[in-house]
Symmetry: none
Subunit: 542 residues, 2 copies
């Protein structure tokens, strides 16, 4: 193995990542995630702990066939006072139909004395016997050194003797774990360098947690000190502050450190998709600020900045976003210059000549509206509508002429205190007046319902639309220069039944009025995207 | 300065953090954040860029008085071809009534050639002149070396000559910026070490971005290499992948590296509160997995783990959670809940005897209400009222019996489209029914006005009260187990004419109802604090 400079990626999303509060993978999730990691080029995929729960048992009973990655079953070394051949816990792990096992054991003398309450030599024997048994039944054996760095600081000789026992028993990998996550990068680099004198770096792995915000740096430091296996999870999933984030480690190894980790440049372009897939499986929004793969990781704001990026992206981008399957985003903002607006146009697919006479008016309108309090950075659908209205026109799908909403807290006929909202709305759709009434659990809900009652007969496609987030802020009175009235900003996120989401914004001194503006934009944007023709015409148009 | 081992913390939440998509601080936000950073012990608070936008202009026109931190105005060095005395951009920065300025300039030859398109010597002169001018008008001067690390890799001599020019012109700090965020920790440590041969480390600062997930480690690496100023933001707020997270850097400096950074152990216990406050100001949920300050950072799950933690916390905790103002969370532990809740009351100055017979009911009520969606950590006035009602009783100052509000968009008699809100409220005050009507620029404003019309004749002290912030969030339907109706949470911040502020919360499926609950709490809390007696009595009391 010496001289092999390859770093072996070991993913533990399905085992250590699963420890996270609120994470509960199904067998189907586990299979899909294992396949995605395999396609990415990860060397080892730890699937779970056989015998720990029914999901893991089912996963290991019929493990997915992978292209190149090796599946790993996790577990503990044999119990004290038992032989490795006669330990049911170990047997369950070795029964799993996978090529490799990773067994955790103690290396911190304090834990051996206080938590296990056994002789230190017996702990070493547990490690040795468990490795030998795993190899005897044909498994690639790995030893996870729990609390290695705390143990090393307390008693380096004992910690190293545990690691060495596993190595001398034939373990392919001895994984140094920063279980409590409190070790800093310079300590990791120094300690791994010391351990590598006793166990060859080509057999050392690193497993870090993010309790000081340094899990990625700690992993890279260990690799620089000679470790050749690195453990982590997709998106740094894991209990407390998470595990080391493989989505950040992989591109730094490939693009910056020139280290072969099994992920080819072509495979690396799937990185962003793997990250997003995990969030999809967990049914939660992706963190836009994630290193390399976040939606905002290559977002540019200021005007000067943007024109420089367009001249030469290397001026403001540390890597090419396409190399990790991500995209450049040009944000619209307060500081928006002409180049910002034009770049944003290109991104939303609106072809426009930069010399178009209306571009200047649009730039001014964006600035004016953002001064009033519109936040287009977080409401891309409203921005797109603003641009399309000014440049190409947007069909007049409907017009909300009047509305009224009454909210009341009163005692009903049975003497019960009730809160009720009732709304009426008058719309013009296709030259016809529609007048509808609805109740709701709040004024916005009641009005939304009344408006849809009027629209659905004309535009059935909006039936599946729903409001998924609704946020309100009061902006300070100074903004509109008046000094007396505060302005309310409503941000709405809508979703359709296919899982698409889009965001709109409304501004008014009146919260209901601002909500209606954002709601109307959400409806119009959906109709536009569906290619719904303007009323009374054969096709879409102004 | 040599021999001074103190590290100076420089916060740029209000300037670089403000660049983030969706972040839009008000002047009130900026003042509150600056005060919190000051109380934490941060040495420098960068408030914004005078001349860049109306909010920053207003902030610098009346900057808050801070206890120990120095406010910093950000800007650019003088333009090419102008004298520093005759540059309107620089003048706007130097006009700001703050003791320090931080001016950014180029240090990467490629940017000088391609972006600025000026002679390299002129760029050095711009740095030199701007530093000298800042010092001449009495400012502490700092130079932000934009793209320093990319510049150093391309042309170390030129990059260092720019840094040296600033130093020789009298700049207190030369800040090495990893503007694109692509540099790895070992490169930072090496390059800072080299630069320290030309500019003393006691004058070097570090400014990192998190594009590779290493911003915290990069900052620590620079400090190890000799830099003595470290720039970052609360929670790593910042564009793309964020800036270096001061909430992670500070505790590692204090608790692990033994470095004096102005944050005493006592001040460090406010760290978690500062982190949470920023998220509240931004109206977004806190990341539970954040290093040190996240709600899950010290969460313990399984039984073995938990009993070991209870035996000796150092077995599974890298630092004491209380040292950073955080808490250990052990699931299914009534005792932990009880002491936790009592500690939270003690924190807001409400003394409760732990042996009081009603304490158990209070603990259950807090848990139940937080499960429903009340967020008492950010609504300490509502939290205090909850406790006082249960333990000591709170005077029945008034009771809001019924209300009704009508919002309407319609054409008025002159054919103008108007939006109006009109509210009626029926209150009982001192056994008398008060029935009032008011209009407002929104339903909550109208109801608030009607309620005050009823109350002010009885309680004149509330006349000066005003609503300074109003935030709404929809909580996911799963919370109330019903699966159909979402719950609305309203958070209100109120202020009196003396500048005191307090926060209250209301929850209801109906946004108006939730608002009234929060408003009523705000009024009652003020009356209680003013020592207003209960109606019909001679003094306060239940």
């Amino acid at each position: 193995m010496a001289g092999d400079d390859r770093v072996y990626l070991f993913d533990t999303t399905l085992r250590d990542g699963q420890q996270t509060r609120g994470v509960d993978f199904t067998v189907a999730d586990k299979i899909a995630i294992a396949r995605a990691l395999d396609a990415l080029g990860v060397a080892y995929v730890e699937g779970g702990w056989p015998g720990a729960n029914p999901t893991d048992d089912r996963f290991f009973a019929e493990p997915p066939k992978l292209e190149q990655a090796r599946l790993v079953a996790f577990g503990m070394t044999r119990r004290p006072g038992r032989s490795a051949e006669n330990d049911p816990g170990l047997a369950a792990i070795l029964d799993a139909r996978v090529p490799a096992v990773c067994l955790v054991g103690k290396t911190w003398d304090f834990h051996v004395d206080v938590a296990l309450e056994i002789e230190r030599d017996e702990n070493v024997a547990m490690i040795r016997d468990s490795m030998k048994r795993s190899i005897a039944v044909g498994r690639e054996a790995m030893f996870d050194c729990e609390h290695f760095f705390d143990g090393y600081k307390a008693n380096p000789d004992y910690a190293v003797s545990c690691a060495k026992a596993a190595y001398e028993s034939g373990a392919r990998w001895i994984v140094l774990c920063d279980t409590n996550g409190g070790t800093l990068p310079h300590e990791i680099e120094e300690i791994v360098g010391e351990v590598a004198k006793a166990v060859p770096g080509s057999h050392l792995g690193i497993h870090c947690h993010n309790d000081t915000g340094n899990a990625v740096a700690n992993s890279l430091a260990a690799i620089r000190a000679g470790a050749r296996q690195v453990q982590g999870t997709i998106n740094g999933l894991g209990e407390r502050c998470g595990n080391a984030d493989l989505m950040a480690i992989i591109p730094s190894l490939v693009l910056k450190m020139g280290i072969d980790c099994g992920v080819t440049p072509e495979r690396l372009t799937h990185l962003t998709a793997v990250s997003r897939m995990l969030d999809e499986r967990l049914n939660r929004p992706s963190d836009p600020h994630r290193a390399y793969v976040g939606a905002a990781a290559f977002a540019h704001k200021g005007g000067l900045h943007v024109s420089a990026v367009q001249k030469d992206p290397t001026t403001y981008e540390h890597v090419d976003p396409a190399s990790v399957g991500n995209q450049r985003h040009i944000l619209v903002s307060d500081q928006a210059g002409r180049s910002n607006i034009l770049a944003r146009f290109a991104e939303i697919g609106v072809e426009i000549d930069p010399k178009h006479p209306k571009v200047q008016r649009l730039v001014e309108e964006v600035k004016e509206k953002e001064f009033q309090g519109y936040a287009f950075d977080s409401a891309e659908a409203s921005f797109e509508l603003l641009a399309r209205r000014l440049i190409h026109g947007v069909p007049e799908y409907f017009s909300i002429e009047r509305w009224r909403v009454m909210d009341e807290r009163r005692f009903n006929a049975r003497g019960v205190l009730v809160v009720e909202s009732e709304a009426t709305a008058t719309l013009t759709v296709d030259d016809r007046a529609c007048h509808e009434v609805a109740v709701g659990n709040g004024p916005v809900n009641a009005l939304d319902t009344a408006i849809r009652k009027a629209l659905v007969p004309h535009y059935p496609s909006i039936e599946g639309m729903r409001l998924v987030d609704y946020k309100v802020r009061i902006l300070p009175p100074s903004r509109d220069g008046d000094g007396t009235d505060a302005v309310t900003r409503v941000m709405i996120e809508s979703a359709d039944s296919d899982g698409n989401t889009w965001r709109t914004v409304g501004i008014s001194p009146n919260i209901i009025d601002a909500s209606i503006e954002a709601l109307a934009d959400a409806l119009i944007w959906r109709l536009l995207k569906d290619g719904v023709p303007a009323p009374g015409t054969g096709g879409p148009g102004a």
